[in-house]
Amino acid sequence: MNALVQIVCLVAIAPLLQGTMHSIRAKLQGRPGPSPWQVYRDLQKLWAKEALVPTGTSALVVAAPGIVLGVALTFAALVPPVAGGGATPVNAVAMALLLALGRCVLVLAAFDVRSSFAAMAASREMTFASLTEAPLILALLSGAIAAPALPMAESGGQAPVASILAAGALLLVMLSETARIPVDNQATHYELTMIHEGLVLEFSGWQLALIQMAGCVRQAAFFLLAARMLPGTSGITLVWIVAFVGLLPVVERMYAKMRLFEVPQLFASAAVLAAASVGLRIAGLGAW
């Protein structure tokens, strides 16, 4: 029941989080920027529009947006609920492989539309995903190692340093998963630099609405996941989420997009953080 309420809330506020971040980034760049509610309007507009599908494609391209949204909703449901109930530690692997399902479907669609922009983006997306898999799974597991029977947040309270390291690793992975600077740029209009946007270049109208909604939900779920791994009670979890929403636009403002082949270093740092977190836990340094 709690989980159901959580999904509904997450889906409802996911576009608001995205809109707020757009708005903050615009302010930081000295632009008036859109209202935080703009994403809802965009989604509504896109949903009402017809979809253009490239000729000669298979049913995969039509079905892909639905699959991707299904994956995002399931992912949101797997995040341990804020109010009670725990995630079993092994769900970390299920989560990572679930995200892989959504990604692989989009990448196959990119091959199907025969655009080299899409395939180039697909190549980068799969490469980065194969590099983030290890830090993602290790970071998610870290919360569950010290006390397999406990939900993530409770174990976070036991070892604050380890939890902060794990959450940090998760946030670095999230930069890639949600297509943010310095890994990717959501706002780019230049196809050759696109990763996630390039992948969905051929989707339009209601199909694009589904994919964008999926992106918002996945991002919100990542926020909640990282917040749940940090020490604190349910109320503080919400504070963490607000902090992420405020912090990410600042990061995007401060940094430029990294060179493609420097991004793996970022993931290497994520892996080191996650490994350090796991290391602290298994070394039995409970107070940390």
Partner: protein, 627 residues
Amino acid sequence: MSLDSLFANAEPRRALGFAALLSTAFVALLAIMLHGTPGLVLTPPIEPNVLRLDFGSTTLALPFFALIVLVVPAVAGWGLTRGTATDGFQLALFVLAMLGVLLAQSVAAFFFAWEMMSLVSAFLVGTHHERRDVRRALLSFVLISQLGALCILAALALLGAHAQSFRFVDIARLAPILPAGMRSAIIALALIGFGSKAGLVPLHFWLPRAHPVAPANASALLSGVMLNVALYGLVVTCFTLAGPVPLVWGVVILLVGLLTAITGALYAAVDSDFKRLLAYSSIENLGIIASVAGLAIVAIGLHEPALAELAFVALLLHAVSHGVFKSLLFLGAGNVAEAAHTTDLEHLGGLRRTLPLTAPLVLIGCAAAAALPPLTGFASEWLVFTSFVRLLPAVPSGLAALIAIAIGILAATSGLAALAFVKLFGVAFLGEPRTIHKVAEERVDPSFIGLGWLAFLCIAFGLAPSVPVTLLIGVASTLSGSAIFDPGPLPTLPVLLGALPFLGAIVALAVARARGVRLVPTWTCGSPVTSRSQYTATAFSKPVRRIFGFVLFPDHVEVRDIGASRWFPIRIRYTFTTRYIVDDVARNVAAAAQRFARRTRIVQAGLLRVYLAYAVAAVLILLVIAR
């Protein structure tokens, strides 16, 4: 009278081959049904009974019999319409040899069946012996097979000498009192012997050459079943014949497995040949299976029988699941090779239009191999990860660090495997054809029943993993001595993960049908979409090649045909290469062996009087020793 003249007409011969191969599946079924009954003993009248041949159906072999029962009929059905006429008989002999290995209960029986398996598979690999690369692959295959067989023979001989008996029952009974040094020697020999056959790094280099050059149905059995039989040998040695294995050997096997898994995945990710990519993926999966075997040894060493049982179930499930999806993929590769006359991904493309039946079946196989939910690869890989994760709190911190690193490596492996299989399907089946050859239309025939059956198994084992798991628990508990198996959320997990994406696909298709979609050309900055503008397999894996350049050593050769002006070249040809470190080492070792052989050839002068002198010397030395 030769078989050829007996079956001058090819079609009845093909049907007979099919029947022969199918009957081996019944033999496997019989082996399952005869489980628990006293075995068969063939005793030649020689003392001591070194050559006695004992056969019997043991619990540990049951999952492997089941795999043969599931896979062989599909492979046989494929060969009925698509293979060459002699394939059926050769494959039947091959499966019988593998059944012999699984049934063997004495040293001689095991080694006889093992050598038979190696020899028959050598003939399968050498099917196209008119090609030079096939002959080279065959040579390294045979050499490594025989090197491995010698190690296995040495290990079994040591065991037999210790037990003063060559029956596996006696050997297993006396295994706990093996001297420590001897036990280590046996495990090391078994790891080299069985590991070289299972394609464990660094003795894997022959596999990506040998497996792809065999006909598709032979490749399916080589990769899908024989590799598992090789691993069965390692498991039997470690847990029955020479057990309990010291913990440190568990760590060694775990490390070898991890190295194999990541190596296989990395080379699969950058390879651009359909069948060779599948062979590298086999290396990856066998590495995963070996690492879980190592984990099980560690768990037993730490007196955690329940966790060892979990690891065994994961091992067996992944072995069965890999056997099923890899057979499916190799048979699919056979269909591709038949229609397109090539398996080079650079020349394939758009096959979903010409092969509309093969495409969805291969897609299911690829998704299972990429461990995507809710297919069988997901269920088994999830269980593999879970057995690592659950052991983490139970081990001392040094070992825990190793297991945490292992989880990270397995995660990277699964990421790279997903990349490899998305590339495989995306490049070969989607988009536009890249080849200049004409791709033949799909031949719809009964062989698709077999492919469909394997694809059905991929889905069924994925959606209802509790069915195979329940059967495997019984096998696993005999090894670990535990009967507490906690599958966690596994029984419902695949459905839980797969339901919404499946529903989403249905809804998206329904909305598209209701509202209609407008068909437009693909947008590529105004230039037309041609097969030449598409991304290729090599281009797709370029970032991986570059990021992992420190092991792959990517290089390219550029050939410019400049013609009249160097600024307007007529033709530019790039060739991309990656270096295989292990191959280089193997080549050096082979060259050194040849040099050594050439030097020692001096003693073989070919002069009668020299040989007589050797004989006299030998007799003298014997007399001195025996005095």
